[in-house]
Symmetry: C2
């Protein structure tokens, strides 16, 4: 494939976490599977966005006509990794009518009174919807583990529990696309600096973000554990290098297209006889 064509290895192959994956050694500025520059990447993504949009509309149409399938995109990543940009630029390519967006922050009191998966279950996409989780149940083995919010004996069994939970969701007809956006410490420094300096980015900045940096190696370790223990056949992790935003966005577009192609949603068959309805339409007048 010519270098200007873009993807030489499909994103779902190039980015899928395999046994032995080493997060520490991972190049966060790389563009796995993609042979092209930013301009090529953006142009290709716009084209693929059209494909994504039609697949999503078919999924939605199915949900409106008795279909039970839906899809879930799980986004994880450190501060500034670009989760918001994925929502805006990738998810923003499809009809907002069919998107069920949910951000998971610090649990509320009500949420804390329940099992940690309670709020997740409640937010699962209904039939036809593309659910998007900005952070997710993985926080319960990431921030919870690093910050010692509960004892190890509590978070340790969660990996298996999460695997079982996701297997159940997938079996029920909702593929789960799990994306870990991985940014380098250097790129994070640049992006935090921008948030501190630019008035239109102040709202995204929280002084606690600096404290979290001090725990960077422990977060990386917690992410490594997530990738080691929860990348399953039915719900694999995709690790997306996030230092180049254009690449990450193009990659997630590809992952969603691939997952939807896996479902292959079809336009629902008519539950009416077109010939009959055309006659009824022709006969109909604005009456009475």
């Amino acid at each position: 494939m010519a270098s200007t064509d873009g993807w030489t290895t499909p994103a779902h192959k190039a980015l899928r976490v395999r046994h032995g994956f080493d997060l520490a050694a991972f190049d966060r500025g790389s563009t796995p599977g993609f042979d092209g520059d930013k301009t090529t990447g953006r142009r290709l993504m716009a084209k693929r966005g059209v494909v994504l949009s039609e697949l999503q509309e078919r999924l939605f149409a199915g949900g409106r006509t008795g279909g039970t399938r839906s899809m879930l995109l799980v986004l994880q990543g450190m501060d500034t990794a670009g989760k918001g940009g994925i929502v805006r630029h990738v998810v923003g390519q499809v009809d907002p009518q069919g998107v069920a967006m949910r951000s998971f922050g610090v649990p509320t009191e009500e949420e804390l009174a329940h099992h940690y998966l309670w709020r997740i279950r409640a937010a699962l996409p209904r039939p036809g919807y593309l659910g998007v989780f900005d952070r997710s149940h993985y926080e319960d083995v990431l921030v919870v583990r690093v910050e010692d919010l509960v004892p190890r004996a509590v978070w340790e069994p969660r990996y298996d529990e999460i695997n079982a939970f996701e297997a159940e969701i997938v079996a029920a007809g909702t593929p789960v696309v799990k994306v870990a956006l991985v940014v380098s410490l250097e790129e994070q420094t640049k992006r935090l600096k921008e948030r501190i300096e630019r008035p239109d980015k102040h709202w995204k900045y929280n002084p606690d973000d600096i404290d979290a940096r001090a725990k960077w190696p422990r977060y990386q370790e917690a992410y490594q554990a997530v990738l080691d223990r929860t990348s399953t056949d039915v719900a694999p992790w995709y690790v997306v290098p996030a230092d180049r935003k254009w690449y990450a966005r193009s990659a997630v577009t590809e992952l969603l297209v691939h997952a939807l192609e896996g479902i292959a949603p079809q336009w629902p068959a008519a539950d009416f006889d077109p010939a009959v309805e055309l006659r009824r339409l022709a006969a109909s007048r604005a009456g009475s």
Copy 2:
């Protein structure tokens, strides 16, 4: 303004329902306030979409930092009037993260057990969000009235009740942009025909749509009553001719920009000292 410039009268002036407005006489193929063709309209809308997107982001930023304002777009219209297209093409111009979309269909049993505004209140946008209602509480004086779902004595007081309800929402900091998309019977015929003939549109077609056409004059009358009785100073109706999709979409983009400019959301002030944070950032290392 040169004819290629587009809007010669702002949409919020050209489309606002005034006393004595006559829906029956309304030209549904017209382009009030706009002097230009489809190409001009589309180009202008793309430009204004960028403005809309920034205003929406400021609103969202406010909501994330203690602000209480939000905004609500209410979409009403007969079948095929283009409500879905407004969501996709107008609302689709902003970050999906900040959109709270809600469609109101036939009430569920639980909803029927409550006051008709119960489900509406529950769906009001939280601070920072652009709420979008695809159909709304107005169905309770439209389909409910035309189909005699409850006696006149029940729906008759609803107009005043709705006015009081909306005044309360607006006073609480949520402007309500009410858009009635008005399509002609001829254009509806064309669009229904397309839904019957095209496999990718079958899912949008319901044989009941033909029955509703027989009641067209009664629906027009019910809409006229809505416009007469619920277009208030704090929450006016905008009647948008919907036979030309490009015009309707451009018009609603303008209405949203205008409403957001009325709030004039600002980037939230920093609740930190940038100089201090830059020093902390520079000093921070991936530690421990």
